[in-house]
Symmetry: C2
Subunit: 122 residues, 2 copies
């Protein structure tokens, strides 16, 4: 048995593992670990259906949407759910269940960090 009390247990911080880390790419090269962590987010938007779904949610009223709001993307509802899960796992969306539906919302700080990483003007 461990001697750790509950207070001493490490606090899980899921955002820490998904948020991009780094200054604009012009400032310094990424380390292997930083690149590993950040590539996951770019990969999540590197699929046309996921990118389209992401833009649907980002531009939807209130910046959030459920699968029930999404149609006309040319894929089945289970496929939509699968892609939304991938985007959530990459940290780009957060989700909340309300009654029957799961609502997805853009994670603004993660997307802002990606945008800042690509802002090479300085």
């Amino acid at each position: 048995m461990s001697n750790l009390s509950v207070r001493e247990l490490p606090v899980l911080q899921p955002e820490e593992t998904v948020a991009p880390c780094c200054p604009p790419l012009t400032e310094r090269p990424l380390s292997a670990e930083e690149a590993e962590r950040t590539a996951v987010m770019f990969k999540a938007l590197g699929d046309p259906v996921r990118l389209r779904l992401f833009s649907l949610i980002a531009s939807h009223e209130g910046g959030e949407a459920c699968v029930c709001d999404i149609s006309d993307v040319g894929v089945s509802q289970p496929t939509v759910s699968h892609h939304l899960k991938k985007l959530r796992e990459a940290g780009l969306l957060t989700s909340e269940r309300r009654a029957t539906w799961v609502y997805y919302k853009v994670a603004p700080e993660v997307v802002a960090a990606m945008s800042a990483l690509l802002d090479l003007r300085h």
Copy 2:
């Protein structure tokens, strides 16, 4: 033989086929065609080695580098060349041969458009 004079020949504009197109993702959903075109660029940065190479070039003196400037990324030089080619095909890098080496440079307008697409503050 063609009757076209040199002046009348269409000017090739490779950037036109690779540049992202669109306003910030909060403004409106992407069309299928727009998403298809733009996902290619995110996919290019969705690999840890490619993202790291991209940051190496972006942060290198003068914003450009050749394979000869790149070491310590843990992959062989042919693999580095392969990834740089992928980044160039996606429109994120331009290349120019000078003597023995091909020099790669970040395509600032393409990267700026990706950054703007993810700028959801407005």
